[in-house]
Symmetry: C2
Subunit: 235 residues, 2 copies
């Protein structure tokens, strides 16, 4: 605990000049020390677990832990079971890399899907967003990341080799690249396009432009530029 | 799921005038429907559990669930065990109402504590804050709430009867009331003071004033008023 904590050591000058005190942050004070009574062990452990989640610090962890104690017993049991089950029963599809219970995943198994189009995304959550659209009936390929020279992520570190193998073995006519509109996402799209196009496969990229329902006034200049560049004739 | 969700029903006019669509929010779209593939069941269940926690909505629940899948197996197992243990092994102390593994709690059992002072707080988390101060060596009493006519919380609904029984049976000289400085906290302090003082027990309230290290410029006028009222002679 002491080693892992990124606490700031504060030196306080307390009570006249009686003594110096070193005040550690909340992290160190979870445990019972020097006759000071703090959280009982089960709650400390639960707080430690909550703090491992992203965006949850010591204060929120304490709030969630106390909330948990007051939850219905069945809800807590279900929560514990769901945690174990999510870790144990879920895996990545060996074909597309989507999160799934069965391998291959239900999308890859679906015979009614158009097997000539593959849509490439960064993250399994993107698949869910695209599925909600209800208009795309091709297959997916999930990269689980983007190329990033700064973070040292190369083509071998994300799901690109399996995409290439897929394109070699399956009859694919079009690859739609739907990486995010960030610098890394754009670079990944460029890289994939240069890799795939020579094989005679059509490579497309999702359109950039104004969000539906948005105000031109509030759009940033790059989005506006993309919207002007990608303008379409009114039929 | 459909019944419990507090979703906003949006009516969209899609694709020319081909059809009206009812777009429910993320809640309804967790499940697999009409050949659209969404989250696998283990992740749906985990998201449902995360969403029962305070301040966690559908988007955060999805993020936490995906994070959980990528966590180390041991960490997930520990998390599940911590949940069960916190619910099963923790209870409220039968004397003071503090959260504890053993009954009575370690503070009530500690013979070195000054048994003539009881500090009354709203919440077990307040005990932890006060213990960190390292200067208070009396006992505690946790109300688990405040009097609130609006929410229908009367003296019987919070831990007041057990406090009165304690004062009758133990030799207490002073009760320090440390409810929060809110309208309900102040009202509860007033109520307790009128109830306890006739028994010849000294009733005190924590001082209100400026926080240490704060700027007078940014202090609100009620805090300033309390600070002036509670001024002390410099020795």
């Amino acid at each position: 605990m002491i080693e892992t904590c990124n606490s700031i050591l504060k030196m306080g000058f307390q009570d006249g000049s009686r003594f110096f005190t070193f005040l550690f942050n909340d992290f160190l004070l979870f445990k019972e020390r020097n006759g000071i009574y703090l959280y009982p062990e089960p709650i400390t452990k639960l707080m430690d677990s909550y703090m491992k989640l992203p965006g949850i610090g010591a204060k929120t962890a304490a709030r969630l832990a106390f909330f948990t104690i007051n939850m219905k017993e069945d809800d807590v049991t279900d929560f514990a079971k769901a945690l174990i089950s999510a870790k144990r029963d879920l895996n990545y599809c060996s074909i597309c890399g989507h999160i799934t219970q069965d391998d291959p995943c239900s999308i890859c198994q679906d015979k009614s899907r158009d097997r000539s189009i593959i849509l490439v995304v960064e993250d399994p959550k993107d698949v869910i967003s695209l599925e909600k659209m209800r208009e795309y009936h091709g297959l997916y390929h999930i990269l689980h990341g983007v190329l990033s020279p700064i973070e040292g992520t190369g083509p071998e570190d994300i799901n690109i080799p399996s995409l290439i193998r897929r394109l070699q073995s399956e009859e694919v006519k079009e690859v739609i690249i739907a990486t995010n509109a960030t610098a890394e996402g754009e670079a990944t799209a460029m890289y994939l396009s240069r890799l795939i196009r020579p094989a005679g496969i059509k490579v497309t990229r999702l359109a950039h432009g104004l969000s539906v329902g948005s105000d031109i006034e509030y759009a940033d200049e790059i989005t506006l530029l993309k919207a002007v560049e990608g303008r379409r004739e009114i039929e």
